[in-house]
């Protein structure tokens, strides 16, 4: 295997850092999530590395706990969108006919309305809980995974080797799991990174608008909201979580790019 490019290494480092921080939040966070430890918007000090927030909570601790919430919701949403989208996408591609038509038209319709707008419409009547957020985001995003999974699987089902397997008399199980899946996996895995980023941005945006994670719990988007008034007084507390979101998104992007490049060069078996 060729060596890992620098950009991917940086991406891997930060992605791992954020994920470890999220998993071990309870161990590394110096204070509790909602613990008030000082005055509002204290500057950075030895006791509070990032200062305190609008009501005097330790910003670093809140960032670590908030990271846990952000990454948990985004990961759960990604898993939901992937499982739903890819199962339905493969089914549509292999079954064809009216099943394919019905699913594809439904997805076209959902995608005709911008996701954020549709989510806002649904959240105006639903109770805003973490489960509802994950369901809404995961199912809306499943439409994109569906399109990709279906397109990839359709590309593969027209290959002569799949036809050869059908002519041999192989059952649907062998065709999906042995002929199609091994060839569809790598584009889907690379796409997973992009979907995860989308989820992070989506949940952050909802929380920033006050329609995502509800206080006293907070994710990074929520922390931006809590501290946004500070900006006008020159207090950059709101920028800290925003920058965390951006660096996480860019890191995952770099890793996904690398995986995508690697797998496409693997697929190009016929050389230049």
């Amino acid at each position: 295997m060729s060596r890992i490019p620098l950009s991917a290494l940086i991406g891997l480092f930060f992605t791992a850092l954020y994920f470890l921080g999220a998993i071990f939040a309870g161990v590394i966070a110096p204070y509790g999530m909602a613990e008030i430890v000082g005055d509002s918007w204290e500057p950075a000090s030895a006791a509070h590395w990032l200062g305190t927030d609008s009501i005097g909570r330790d910003l670093l601790s809140r960032m670590i706990w908030g990271g846990q919430v952000t990454i948990f919701i985004a990961a759960a949403g990604t898993v939901l969108s992937f499982v739903t989208g890819s199962i339905l996408g493969f089914t549509a591609a292999v079954a064809g006919g009216w099943i394919d038509q019905a699913l594809s038209r439904l997805v076209d319709l959902i995608m005709a309305v911008p996701s954020l707008i549709f989510a806002l419409v649904v959240l105006s009547v639903m109770p805003v809980t973490m489960v509802v957020l994950i369901l809404v985001m995961g199912l809306l995003d499943a439409t994109r995974v569906f399109r990709l999974a279906r397109a990839v699987a359709v590309d593969i089902t027209v290959m002569d080797y799949v036809e050869a397997a059908r002519l041999r008399g192989e059952g649907r199980g062998w065709i999906i799991f042995r002929e199609i899946l091994p060839n569809a996996l790598s584009p889907l895995v690379a796409e997973m990174g992009l979907r995860f980023i989308f989820m992070v941005l989506f949940i952050s945006t909802l929380s920033f608008l006050g329609l995502g994670v509800q206080p006293p719990l907070a994710d990074w988007g929520g922390i931006v909201k809590e501290n946004k008034e500070g900006i006008v007084y020159g207090i950059p507390a709101a920028l800290v979580p925003a920058i965390a979101i951006a660096t996480l998104a860019i890191s995952v992007n770099l890793v996904a790019d690398w995986i995508l490049n690697r797998t496409t060069s693997l697929k190009g078996g016929r050389g230049a």
Binding site: L109, P114, L116, L120, V125, F208, I231, A242
Partner: protein
């Protein structure tokens, strides 16, 4: 070709009707009762009954949908639950403000994105291309509100060159208005520029790799002539398509940016009323946003149909 365009328009209209059903259904999927969820568990039975009657919840859902859409088509979007105002009236002013914001963002970002895309193609793989691609990759990975607060922090708070809050009202002159919306426009431009420039670059590169470009080069034409006579006519359709798709994207970006800069537009209006669970307002806003989005997508498709030489000059 006329037939194809008519088909596409018909599809767009169907999509709009379907989207209105979706938006309507989106507010009905709660297993319990909308009135209950709006008023909360502690609501009195009398209050619940009143709200039900007001929302028309005693009718079956399809009947309510038809009534709602029929009224909306005649310009009656109902009244807000929270302040009893006529929604159409309240929205008119705000829609104007939003379009004003989106218009200036488009006027700046479209030529800029095409110019940057052309520069990136001209210097493909060299430092101008890498620089532009790198910066735009960063801007597409960053949430809109971060961009918003960064420019606000720098330009409004640290250097105090522009106002941090974009308040506009009728009595302002155009110059004052433009000064007020400078920051949100800047953020919106950054948000769409990345996507638009990357897609433009890809569209032009795709054309530049065609065999007929090689033919033109082998005729000994000047690089500029090759681009103007051979690449441009074929790149126009995909680029216009890219522009339209990104204007549609702008419609969504505007929601967050309006909240950041406290701008009195549609986005702010929608978000406020989602928090207040004012269902009629949310439905009306959702419908308008979806209509603009679907309309722009439809326009993009029609333009690419019109620009296709195979369809323009049939056999």
């Amino acid at each position: 070709m006329v037939k194809l365009v008519i088909q596409r328009v018909a599809l767009g209209l169907m999509l709009m009707v379907a989207a209105s059903i979706l938006i309507f259904a989106g507010t009905q999927i709660l297993p319990g009762d909308v009135a209950q969820s709006i008023l909360g568990q502690s609501a009195t039975p009398q209050a619940l009954a009143n709200l039900r009657a007001e929302l028309g919840l005693n009718d079956p859902a399809p009947v309510r949908y038809v009534k709602w859409l029929g009224a909306a088509l005649q310009g009656d979007l109902g009244t807000a639950l929270t302040n009893k105002q006529d929604i159409a009236k309240a929205m008119g002013q705000r829609l104007g403000n939003t379009l004003f914001l989106a218009f200036w963002a488009a006027v700046i970002s479209v030529p800029l994105a095409i110019l940057l895309g052309l520069i990136a193609v001209r210097y493909q793989g060299r430092w101008p291309d890498r620089l532009i691609s790198g910066v735009t990759l960063a801007t597409v990975s960053v949430p809109e509100f971060l961009l918003g607060y960064i420019v606000m922090f720098l330009l409004a708070v640290q250097f105090r060159v522009l106002p941090s809050v974009a308040t506009v009202y009728d009595s302002m002159s155009l110059g004052e208005k433009l000064n007020a919306i400078a920051l949100p426009v800047m953020v919106l431009v950054l948000v769409v520029l990345g996507h638009m420039m990357r897609m433009t670059r890809a569209a032009i590169l795709n054309v530049m790799q065609s065999a007929y470009i090689e033919t033109a080069e082998l005729k000994g034409l000047r690089p500029f002539t090759v681009i103007v006579r051979h690449a441009f006519p074929n790149a126009l359709a995909p680029v216009v398509n890219v522009v339209m798709l990104n204007l549609a994207y702008l419609v969504v970006g505007v929601v967050v940016v309006e909240v950041v800069f406290v701008y009195p537009g549609m986005g702010q209006y929608l978000v406020d009323h989602v928090a207040k669970r004012d269902v009629p307002v949310v439905q009306a806003c959702g419908l308008v946003f979806a209509a603009v989005y679907i309309g722009l997508n439809m326009l993009a498709d029609i333009i690419s149909i019109l620009a296709n030489p195979r369809l323009r000059h049939p056999k």
